[in-house]
Symmetry: C2
Subunit: 125 residues, 2 copies
């Protein structure tokens, strides 16, 4: 596992995190994502963490960093799919992911971003 | 890693395979996918294999099985994101994934399925 795939859906990039993120993988993801935002002019990033059963301070920091990078490149980041137990732990640990938008699932995340797939642009609400 | 997340986007279920699939994980994916197709009335399944550098006969068989299950549940399966080297190897090995649709990326896969996200239904072409 060298890198985490980044899927493009119109103006949105979708990243599904399934594996444990070690330092190098997290760095590669940040680099890849910045390059893809630049190459595709993406307006939003959906970070799906539904497969994660633990979100510690390292992952919390990585999410904040990715969100910050995307933000300065004019793309908004939404974290989707957080498991209930993860949400409880995050709040208990005081890791409240400041400045990061969250949504229950990919569809709500898309809705939050207010972005439709390319080709649907005429029908954007 | 107990299970591979299945993301719902309107009428489509998206599965990104990032980890090596052992028997149990493949079985769980088949079960989960069948349950989700039933629960969500999904019309299509996108199987993203862009992270896979090797597709052997085991994975080829799993893809064919998933496609078969989805098919009898009235959902079409499209395999997307296949790396060039994987395509070459598949053909050289004679594993041509009969009956399985393929597309270059998620967007083309969506287009191939001819399915828009829910809420866009009025604008379907």
């Amino acid at each position: 596992m060298d890198r985490i795939p980044i899927l493009r859906m119109g103006d949105v990039l979708l990243v599904t995190i399934q594996v444990e993120l070690h330092d190098q993988l997290a760095m590669t993801l940040q680099d890849d994502l910045a390059a893809r935002i630049s190459a595709t002019s993406a307006r939003g990033v959906l970070l799906d963490i539904s497969a994660l059963e633990i979100v510690d301070s390292f992952i919390g920091r990585m999410i904040a960093t990715i969100s910050g990078i995307a933000s300065v490149m004019d793309a908004r980041t939404v974290v989707v799919g957080m498991q209930p137990a993860v949400a409880i732990t995050l709040v208990e640990l005081g890791l409240s992911l400041p400045g990061v938008l969250t949504a229950l699932d990919v569809e709500r995340g898309m809705h939050l971003l207010g972005i439709t797939r390319s080709g649907d642009a005429d029908h954007a609400q």
